[in-house]
């Protein structure tokens, strides 16, 4: 019995050793995107797979929840397994001096024309995509009249039913202020006290505080809640699948993501190549077509088919009724406001 066991072990070891000496391996690049689901799939199809075959690189896609502390710890400890990371605009402002590797390749000006109110690519990062948090609702719950903005979300008499909110003060405080009639161009600096007072009013009707983009969609589909802010790309995918969820662009919160290379990446040159590749208008247009998020590059928007362009956060009609999250304000206030948020939620 022992002999048989030893023979089997020997065969396994021999087989492993032989297969290990096979063809030379491609270099590996770890690309980290913010949020999974249909969004990550679109990045794989538009950027990672084509880059992998054209540059003979193994690209490993990784999802993160934009936990800035995690990235900070990695860089400080010198143990950085990531090469390219998608960060939010507020994180880009906070980390550009200390956490990010300067880019060694620049994006040609001829191929990148930034969307209005968007900065051009710089030494530390390249604007990638505008994603939007819009007001979604379960269509069958509102057959007579459908909610048209945050004022309706707060109006529990006209639009009854349990709600969900994003478990994050960023954008949620803005939605509260919009519900009380504050104009989008007068949101910042945020009146935090007033926003929390308005949240007090809606809190008894909030059944779910979601942390992941799939949660609000599934909660609306199962009828657990009837209304929730949700990421526009997820709702677009849900609509394409024929599911009965509607959404409105009124008061939508737009946030910009950047591609960066964390300090300590082991593949800086390849990571630069990837960022240049992913900033090409054709590649950006392909991603936008798949997920309906708005490329930060006007040249890419022009390449998106007309019917999908209407669903992008950067479409002029949608852009006009939405607002951009002020990354400067949030980079200075996010910690204190989040601490207050945690205390408020535990009251």
């Amino acid at each position: 019995m022992n002999r048989i066991l030893m023979c089997a072990c020997g065969i396994v070891v021999l087989f492993t050793a032989c297969t290990d000496r096979g063809a030379p391996r491609n270099p590996k690049l770890v690309v980290v995107s913010y949020g999974g689901g249909s969004y990550q799939q679109s990045q794989i199809e538009a950027f990672e797979r084509p880059f992998s075959s054209s540059h003979h690189v193994d690209v490993e896609p990784v999802v993160w929840g934009a936990e800035y502390g995690k990235l900070e710890e990695m860089v400080e400890s010198g143990n950085v397994p990531w090469d390219v990371v998608e960060v939010t605009a507020a994180q880009f402002v906070r980390g550009r001096g200390s956490l990010f590797q300067p880019l060694t390749r620049t994006i040609p000006i001829s191929s990148f024309d930034p969307i209005d109110k968007t900065s051009a690519p710089d030494h530390f990062g390249v604007p990638n995509v505008y994603w939007s948090t819009v007001l979604g609702y379960k269509k069958s719950a509102f057959l007579k009249e459908q909610p048209a903005g945050w004022r309706d979300f707060w109006d529990v008499k006209r639009f009854p039913g349990p709600r969900a909110l994003y478990d994050n003060p960023r954008a949620t405080l803005e939605f509260a202020l919009l519900s009380s009639g504050v104009q989008p161009n007068r949101l910042y600096p945020l009146d935090v006290d007033r926003a929390f007072a308005l949240l007090d009013n809606i809190r008894p009707y909030v059944r779910l505080w979601w942390t992941d983009g799939t949660q609000p969609v599934s909660a609306m589909l199962t009828g657990t809640v009837v209304m929730s802010p949700a990421w526009s790309g997820r709702l677009y995918a849900s609509q394409q699948a024929g599911q009965e969820i509607g959404y409105t662009w009124n008061g939508a919160a737009n946030e910009l993501d950047y591609w960066i290379i964390p300090k300590g990446s082991k593949n800086v040159s390849l990571a630069n190549d990837f960022i240049v590749f992913a900033s090409d208008p054709d590649a950006m247009a392909k991603q936008a077509t798949l997920t309906a998020y708005g490329p930060a590059n006007k040249l890419a928007v022009l390449r998106v088919p007309g019917h999908i362009r209407l669903e992008l956060p950067t479409d002029p009609q949608n852009w006009a009724v939405s607002f951009i999250i002020d990354s400067d304000w949030w980079s200075k206030n996010e910690v204190a406001v989040t601490e207050r948020w945690l205390r408020w939620k535990s009251k």
């Binding site: 936990e67 800035y68 502390g69 995690k70 990235l71 900070e72 710890e73 969900a164 478990d167 909030v206 059944r207 779910l208 505080w209 979601w210 942390t211 599934s218 909660a219 589909l221 199962t222 009828g223 657990t224 996010e334 910690v335 204190a336 989040t338 601490e339 945690l342 205390r343 939620k345 535990s346 009251k347």
Partner: protein, 294 residues
Amino acid sequence: MRKLAKLVVSTAAWGLIVSVGLFYVVPLIIWCISLARGSAGAHSPGVDVFALYWSLIGQTITLSVAAALAAVICGSATALVAVSGHGRTRELLTAAMTVPLLMGFIARNYAWVGLLSQFAGETRVLFLSSLSRALLYKQLGIVVVMGTVFVPFCYFMVLQELTGLSPVPLQAARTMGASDATIFWRIILPSIRGSQRNAFMLSVVLGVGYFITPQLIGGGNFQFVGNGVLVLLDRFGLTVDASLLGLLLFLTVMVPVGLTGLAIYLKKRQKKQEQLKVVRKQESLDTAAPAQAD
């Protein structure tokens, strides 16, 4: 042979002590010192850790205690059924009790969320949808899910106590005409009280460290201290604030546990001393009696 066994046992014991020292106590001491010096890492002046702690600790303790109580009641009841049933019943119950321990945290929580939200959306059976309304994203849901995880600890502890219970007092009580209820209240319950107390304390200690279950089952409506630690550490990298919050939770658990342990130790010592006094008194009486007889 006996010497060898002694050597093995003492080596194992010292190994355990050294491991505990290296992996738990030493880092804890270093952590406390660096916290006191304020050199443990990033800290934000905008975060009031003590205010955050006070706002989170109430829910953490209340829900953990509720879940532990539920587990003690269910675990004890199941152990009683297992002891009074046939061999097959006990095997089946023991197998069922190990299932919650075998499932990972995420799988367990998502299974519950999936189950309950399906009831809410698709199923039109009245009982199931009202179950969902009562449990999903509610405090009761957190207590039930945490309770199911703790039930096995209580079950196995109580079962061990019950199987080791001497049949003599039970038979004596029956002979004297005591009813089943009297036997349960007067003999069985006092016998398993110790294991119930241990199971309860173990469950509470485990429960206060939870954060995934409150987030997923509670739908973010109820937060534990662990959720606060995670936000400070993961989202903002505030290691000092997160460590301080963690240390406060650690003290919240360790101070009562330590005091309870000390109280039990002192009570036992007092009892032992009293017993010793009685024995000595008896001995002195025994020695005095023959002398008087002489």
